[in-house]
Amino acid sequence: MDNDTSPKVAPQATLDSSELVGRGNREGNRLFKEWYGRVSSGPERGEKAAYVFVMGSAAELFESFGFNLVLPEINGLQTAVRHVAEDYIDQAEGYGFATDVCGYVKADVGMQLRGGDHPMGRIPPPDLALQTNVCNTYIKWGEIWERLYHVPVVTLDIPGSRAAGRLPGRGHVDYENDLAYVRGQVDELVEVCEQVSGRRFDQDRLVEAMSHANSMTRDWVRVLELNKSRPAVYNAVTDGTVYLGAVNALRGRVEGADYFRDVVEELEYKASHGLGTPFEERHRLAFVGVPCYPIYRKFSEMFTQHGGIFVGSSYTWFASGGWSTGYEYDLAHPLDSLAEGLLVTGRAAMDTMFHVDRVLAEMAEPYGIDGIVFHAIKSCRTVSSGLADSRRAVLEQADVNALLIDSDHMDPRVVAEAGMRNRVDAFFEGLETRRLLAGARS
């Protein structure tokens, strides 16, 4: 029996390895900076800013109206990786926000209070904002902008799964009820976009953006699948975060589609040549949660130094807005399909947070996962509240080791690095023992 579940790739002998390998990261970082530059200079060109969240961004629609997308979660994480998050958080706490409020929210409040000053540029205030319910904190966050700026803050309510695994599809009365609701809200959103932008809705521009998004989606699914390769062709936490930045910031744009075509090319090349990450791969891991940005590099090294490579990450599922589902728009029915896409992907994003145990149990075998790292963060109750229970449920279903650690993705004051390192070390001892036992058995 063929147990090789690695994705099949055609050898590409003509490509030059030095040009290809690492291109995704280099280009991703370049495009990301370019995007920040465009957002920052938007007001000079009279362009308007739409604040959206990574889960349920409706980026294609905003793109069609010529808005620059501002992604406040990404602004937040950038302050953390650049070690300035605490300043912003302090400012928000001084304004009245409690220590228990999500660090992303507070970093944004801090940034708004200092006129958009941010390490990546000057972020313009919103002309319009879209908040989905995929994370409830989004809604509370949007209410802050409403109060600060008195601009339209539109809610897009996406009903999620009512229970684990209950996913009625097309034709089912419940699905159709949800879809009609989302569809109606999309029309309402279009009306607001028209008012704020002063432009009429342009179906051709939407179709163009959707077509780029479709291309990105196909490639994104391929990127995720390619990490079934042994060795893994990228680290789903570190490289994966670079890719995620592009998924969100460039969604619906031609440079996004081009970028992901190139990423797939690079990763297929690596897969066909047996090239992995720069680190030894002794243990194939899945990551659940949001990375520890305040000590991003050291956090990653805690695992790579033991030969632990993240081949999958729930972050790449939900923080891509659920585009890991592979949903592609029907370009013949753009607004209908936009609504369905938002419903299907929004629901998937929620499922990969609230019912992550199911996805993990399914991916353990095809991805050859030995261990799962659950990273609960104080800020984020959406992702973290159920992790202890998910860990218990996964251990009942799959033969893997599992580690639960906690810190924060923003606030360095609650990151206890030494304690976390001890627990990670002990986790790898367990994985080594498992490996020895497996070796002895075979």
């Binding site: 304004y95 009245g96 926000f97 409690a98 228990d100 409020v101 999500c102 929210v105 319910n133 994370c135 409830n136 904190t137 809604i139 509370k140 949007g142 209410e143 409403e146 109060r147 809610t155 897009l156 309510d157 009903p159 999620g160 799964s161 009512r162 229970a163 684990a164 209950r166 009365v173 419940d174 009820n177 949800d178 009609a180 609701y181 569809r183 109606g184 809200q185 309402e188 929620m350 609230f354 019912h355 145990d357 609960a376 104080k378 984020c380 109750r381 959406t382 973290s384 509240s385 159920g386 992790l387 202890a388 229970d389 218990r392 449920a393 906690d406």
Partner: protein, 392 residues
């Protein structure tokens, strides 16, 4: 009406009745629910904040409001992280410890923690657990139609549990019972507002909370008897500050905390257990009952930090509550680690400052047991306010 779950209370004095109600509300073993089950009844538990109990009652089931409990979450703790409010842990504890047996559990997407609660609950019990997706886009033109469909979905699930279908007349009858209940609860709050010396905040609380664990027909009988007793209560008014308590929309402060507040002030309005009082007007009993319930939820309802509705900016709603109740100050509270509650404190405080209304900010936990420092702080706050008032 069907099963009675309260002991015969005829002939009891007002104080005895209030004491018995308090005992029942504080009992984490839900004796009234047990009695219902012993008589062969089935139970649907629903979490905070609002739930359309009429749909469950119409099927002959007992809807039970789950809002945590003053218990140690021995099993519940292990299923959650540490940075969470207490109510989700103690609510789960009620189920895992067998104190509260259910045929179905329904939660709502009120906050990030509660949405996880539904998933965790579902992984750990054998009966159906689900989320009722109440709309978060209340001003959408499509929200009412959507919500009607969502209620219909709930109804189908309830019918399966009940083993019978529910028709429009069943629903209308249930709505009528709940309308009567709403009328009585409104009267209770009128008494608090107009003659607060007749009804303390902790007493009103137990009278409201009991409704979440007994059939509403029985609750109506009880309230119909208690309200005239309250109206004739001989308590004399005292020179106390009139105050609004805000922050009890989900996790509930311990009763002793409310008693402590009552010792130094008159709480003339509050958002305690607001879900049980969410619909502010009668629901129409003619026409399409599910559509009527949906419209009432959206258009004739209260407010809370976990419902987004552009028509009801929370700070303006709070100011209105203060004005309409004639309060001179507010306690702005939140359950510990309740993110939406804590978020809301910021605009509340700013609005109160802008209006020059004195306020007192605090956090509570349902399981806290020491109130001495709260009492001192509150008394100092009230003295300061009265002193400042005297100076003016």
């Amino acid at each position: 009406m069907g099963t009675h779950v309260l002991d015969d209370w005829g002939g009891l004095s007002l104080d005895e009745l209030l004491r018995d109600c308090r005992d029942l509300v504080e009992d984490p073993d839900y004796p009234t629910v047990r009695r219902w089950r012993e008589a062969g009844g089935k139970v649907v538990g629903h979490f905070e904040v609002y739930f359309p109990e009429e749909i469950v009652a119409a099927a002959g089931l007992l809807p039970v409001k789950i809002h945590g409990a003053p218990i140690e979450a021995r099993q519940g703790d292990a299923h959650f992280g540490s940075n969470l409010c207490s109510i989700v842990k103690t609510s789960l504890e009620l189920a895992l410890s067998g104190r509260l047996e259910l045929e179905m559990f329904v939660s709502h997407p009120i906050c990030d923690t509660a949405r996880n609660l539904a998933a965790v609950w579902g992984r750990n019990v054998p009966y159906p657990c689900e989320i009722l997706y109440l709309p978060q886009n209340a001003t959408s033109r499509h929200a009412a139609t959507y919500l009607r469909g969502e209620y219909q979905r709930l109804q189908r699930g309830v019918e399966e549990i009940a083993g019978r279908t529910v028709n429009d007349d069943d629903l209308r009858r249930a709505i009528a019972v709940y309308n009567e209940n709403r009328r009585l609860l409104r009267r209770l709050y009128e008494i608090k507002r107009e003659t607060p010396w007749l009804l303390q905040v902790d007493e009103a609380y137990v009278l409201v909370a009991l409704g979440g664990r007994i059939p509403r027909e029985e609750h109506n009988l009880l309230l119909s008897a208690v309200i005239p007793m309250l109206e004739q209560r001989g308590t004399a008014p005292q020179d106390r500050m009139r105050i609004v308590f805000e922050g009890g929309f989900c996790e509930q402060p311990p009763l002793d905390l409310l008693t402590t507040i009552a010792q130094s002030s008159y709480v003339v309005d509050d958002d305690l257990l607001i879900g049980l009082r969410w619909l502010s007007e009668d629901v129409a009993t003619d026409g399409d009952p599910l559509a009527n319930l949906a419209t009432a939820y959206l258009d004739h309802s209260s407010y809370s930090p976990v419902q987004h509705d552009d028509r009801k900016p929370k700070e303006e709603m709070l100011l209105r509550r203060i004005r309409e109740s004639g309060a001179g100050a507010a306690i702005i509270s939140a359950a510990k680690m309740c993110e939406p509650g804590l978020d809301e404190q910021v605009p509340y405080v700013r609005a109160l400052e802008a209006e020059g209304i004195p306020y007192f900010v605090n956090e509570f936990e349902e399981n806290m047991t020491s109130f001495d420092s709260l009492q001192i702080q509150l008394e100092t706050f009230i003295e300061n306010v009265l002193f400042a008032g005297a100076e003016v």
